[in-house]
């Protein structure tokens, strides 16, 4: 007797996706969307990639445990071997090295850790040492990880890259840093879908356009969540219609949502009907990725 392979099982299972929640403008509701989405869709994990100011856990209230200290390699000059040729400083795109006639100075804070200086040194005078930039912390369940950049530290991207290796097997939701600079791009790259959260105001629209251009350039499918719908004007909707950017959810400007937010409670917990809406949004995203 032959057994039929379990093909049906596989096709009906949720594909594991990497979904980023980003925005051009800060304060539009990325964390609100990411946390409520995470709590609504089973078998997902959440990464707070806004490592400069991670705040997802303000709503999740997990006890966090440090799992890794993240370092980047920075150069150490062996003055015995150095002949002050200046090749290292010429190579460095970030001016983290100053080659003076008698001394090479290292400005570790400016170093991006590429290792190029040690490769171009003809005298093998450059070795590397780790400079701590921040930590990765996880919840007990392991479904939530957050990066925490050291205070005053500028190198967010290497920490975000490391954090992304903790994505796990499930569909992962990533709360991105605001803006369209390197930390946002590091978060969004190699993901399957990008949710762009905006507010329906001229400010929201201006920065949505910037973020939408970034993900378009990166060829990542995207959809828009309008938060605080009901305030502002129709500019965001008009822009979305004109550019074919789908609006996948609207969260109304609702006092009840604001009140639970101020208490650190995700609104799907007090308004469970919203879980269904986030699940529908998840279906929309699955369709778009397929």
């Amino acid at each position: 007797m032959q057994t039929t392979p379990a093909v049906d099982m596989i096709t009906t299972e949720t594909p594991n996706m990497k979904i980023t929640v980003a925005s051009g403008k800060g304060g539009t509701g990325k964390t609100t969307v990411a946390v409520n989405f995470f709590l609504s869709v089973p078998k997902t994990s959440l990464l707070d990639c806004d490592v400069e100011e991670p705040n997802s856990n303000l709503f999740l209230h997990n006890d966090l445990k440090k799992v890794k200290e993240v370092t980047i390699p920075v150069p150490v000059i062996d003055e015995q071997k150095c002949e002050h040729c200046g090749k290292c400083a010429d190579f460095c795109n970030y001016n983290a090295l100053a080659a003076l006639p008698q001394k090479v100075m290292v400005f570790s804070d400016l170093c991006h850790g590429c290792g190029g200086c040690s490769l171009v040194c003809p005298n093998d005078a450059i070795s590397e040492t780790g400079r701590s930039i921040g930590n990765i912390e996880r919840s007990l369940s392991g479904q939530f990880h957050t990066g925490l950049l050291n205070i005053g530290e500028a190198m967010a991207s290497p920490l975000i890259k490391e954090l992304k290796t903790y994505a796990g097997e499930n569909t992962v939701i990533m709360d991105a840093p605001p803006g369209t600079a390197c930390p946002m791009i590091t978060t969004v790259e190699d993901t399957d879908y990008c949710i762009l959260v905006t507010e329906p105001t001229p400010f929201g629209l201006n920065d949505l356009k910037l973020a939408a251009e970034v993900v378009r350039e990166m060829k990542i499918p995207a959809g828009v969540v309008i938060n605080r719908a009901g305030v502002g004007d129709g500019g965001v909707e008009e822009y979305c219609h004109q550019t074919g950017l789908p609006i996948i959810m609207e969260i109304p400007y609702d006092r009840r949502i604001a009140e639970v937010y101020s208490e650190g409670i995700p609104f799907v917990e007090t308004m469970p009907q919203w879980k269904e809406k986030f699940l529908q949004m998840f279906e929309t995203i699955k369709e778009a990725v397929r």
Binding site: Y94, N95, M105, L110, A181, C182
Partner: protein, 130 residues
């Protein structure tokens, strides 16, 4: 002795550029032969660390003195390590700056006179991040 002055253009009659790292030009005055030479500052458009690179250039020219408006902390560290004396002035031409120095009316600074990124203008403070 070589004096390096930050300049808005490659002419000695032009105003002193108050920013060090992002100065468009350096004018080098050689007090032994009275010659003036203008050099474009390769760090003027750097995404980050302009002061460091500019200071390295000034050290390469073997200048003994730098006359400028302000220096930031990283630039000052490089300049002082290279043994370059830093003096500041403002609102004068390059030529007048040199005269002031020769008369001994300019004061040597003993530390940075501006915070990091002060010469970058508004909203550009972290443009070079990866």
């Amino acid at each position: 002795m070589k004096i390096c002055i930050t300049s808005k253009s490659n002419e000695p009659d032009s105003d002193i550029e108050p920013r060090f790292g992002r100065a468009p030009y350096f004018i080098i005055a050689d007090t032994e032969n009275g010659k003036l030479e203008a050099i474009e500052n390769p760090a003027a458009g750097a995404t980050g660390g302009a002061g460091i690179q500019a200071a390295q250039e000034v050290a390469k020219m073997q200048a003994d003195v730098l006359i400028t408006g302000n220096v930031g902390p990283n630039a000052y560290e490089v300049l002082s390590t290279a043994g370059i004396e830093v003096v500041t002035t403002s609102g004068v031409s390059v030529k007048e700056g040199i005269e002031q120095y020769n008369k001994g009316t300019l004061e040597k600074v003993s530390g940075p006179t501006a915070r990091a990124h002060a010469g970058m203008g508004r909203g550009q403070g972290r443009g070079g991040r990866k």
